[in-house]
Amino acid sequence: MGNNSLFLIIKRMRTPMFVLVITFAISILGMVLIPGVDDQGRPYHLSFFDAFYFVSYMATTIGFGESPYTFTYPQKLWVAFCIYLTVIGWFYAIGAIITLVQDKVLAAQIALAQFQRKIRKMEEPFIIFVGYNSMTRQIIDHLSKDGIRSVVIEKDEEKIKELSLENYTIEVPALAGDIRDPKIFKTAGIHKRNCRAVVSLFNDDAMNLHVALSAKLMNKHVMVVVEATQDEYGQNLKTIGADVVENPFKIVAKRVYLSLTSPSLLMIEQWLYGDPLVLRRKDRLPKEGKYIVCGYGRMGTALEVGLRRAGIDYVFIEASPEKAAKARRGEKVMVGDADDKKILLKADVQEASCIIAATKDDLLNLSIIMAAKRINPEIYTIARENHLADTVVFKAAKIDRVIMLETLMINKTYNVLARPLADRFIRLMAYRGESWGKKVVDLMKNHINNNPDTLETRIDEEHAYALVRHIEETKEEVPYSILYRRRDDWRKENPMLILYIRRGEEEHLLPDPSLPIRIGDEILFAGTKEAFEDMEYIMENIYEFYYVMQGKECELSLACKLTLDF
């Protein structure tokens, strides 16, 4: 398959070559057959070599004159004919080559061959993205800054051109092709050992299911990350073994629930997604009063679960009677256009504490918010924003809280791919409750600062050379508190906090620093950049490690140090 382009070229060049050979043959034969006269007036015949020599330079229009003797008129007549014959032959051949270069099929084949070569040469881990859109573009951008490589499969060639103009830190190979073709995954290198994950974030759940299914069939070890907004597809995806099934509406519902019941946990979650570790006043949803949710679609039904669990009084407004009819008995769903003043008044908007515009139409959401604010200026407003392109309009509307589904998905997917420990931590802490969350936030704020950084690392030869060698050679238990020590003074501690340790099946949330280090531990830290730098030095460098362990400089000679025996 690799040299398809070469075969294509050869096959297309058949006719031009045929034409060239024939024109040359006719010309040469004529030159040999037609008698000439030499300088002494005797008749002669050109030999085949003479004829070949003459035609060769005549045909290429170089023109060295007549050889070996001046031509007779019959010869000249034939030459005149030959000039046109061979020149047409050459032009045709050159024209064919130019057409070939412009040929789309050939270009596609060459692009494919280049793509395959890139995939073959790629040795570091990479992630396959199916579909290139505003979401995957940002995820790829984040990942490439972290040094994680991506590969894109996209049906639309225009988007691939767009991708090639983008300035990613690392090159992102892209392949044009329809995902329904099973060969496409193979071309993208799914069977390779260093293919870590396949990501599919289409709006269309059926499409995601299709991708997940073919990806799992091609390589069952690869991690599959897909979006599913409907429960039935979510179930199917779990059955076929998709590792991460993301539902943006469930994330939204969970966040609404968290901000009503345990704002500290929400704050930690948002911080891990990249926001500062503060809870602004407008992040606090009103706990009293009635909520009006406009739109009883996928987001509405997800919100319903969150609001009910938080014990909030709510009412839905839905434009389509069919969707409204799906509601369970006892749920309050009113049928009507939510930006209609009458319906809003009927839903008691002047008494309500909060309105959530959750339809999939951005403009409708905006007009709902505007209408509600006109009646009740005190109301807390939440709007769903579907497309990143509308951000400016939403900013201008002064909405208390804008839920951007695309951004949510971008952050979530990035976390899953690049910071798996943070992702796991978010899931685990949800069961801990508000008081635990408050403790963690206080610890971080008092111990570190208002907006700590995070770091994920692993205790192995690659990330903690000195530490691993020490543990292996002395069999001595080293507590995690060692890593907190400062390199300039070992008695002092760096502002750091271990949030989470994964040790095989064991999981420790907020462990005690006296916990002994084991090789293979995966750790999520919160702290300052300087603290992380110190820690990495201690883990990797035998001198630094010796200093913080013993409290003094290493006195051995360099040779001894290299054989290392503390």
Partner: protein
């Protein structure tokens, strides 16, 4: 019936027969070998080679190889002829070299035709 197969078959077999026509005769006597026949053999061989280009099958590759061998042998024969005529002068050694080169080409052409016929016989349609 496949028109492309007809044309290819025609040129492959014509290449063999032309080649044989030139080769047939006393290998030491140049007069028994026609120069026009050598020219025609070279042209037909080149065309046959072109028709074998771009075939991705295993057989296609071997056919192309035999054709290339025949081309090289025949062009070699023509070059020796030109060399003999203009540089060294004709003698029995040169003449035998010309004829034996075309004999080599003949063998390659026979292989080519055998392979081609074999392939045709093997196919069921």
């Amino acid at each position: 019936m496949n028109l492309e197969k007809v044309i290819a078959g025609f040129f492959i077999i014509l290449a063999l027969t032309m080649n044989f026509g030139f080769f047939y005769g006393d290998p030491t006597v140049l007069e028994q070998h026609n120069r026009y026949e050598l020219f025609a053999a070279i042209i037909v061989n080149l065309i046959a080679t072109i028709y074998k280009l771009g075939d991705k099958t295993q057989l296609g590759a071997v056919l192309l190889a035999t054709s290339l061998v025949a081309d090289i042998q025949l062009i070699g024969a023509a070059s020796i002829w030109a060399l003999g005529e203009y540089v060294t002068g004709m003698n029995t050694e040169v003449v035998t070299a010309i004829i034996s080169f075309s004999g080599g080409a003949l063998l390659a052409n026979i292989t080519s035709v055998v392979l081609f016929t074999g392939d045709v016989l093997k196919s069921k349609r």
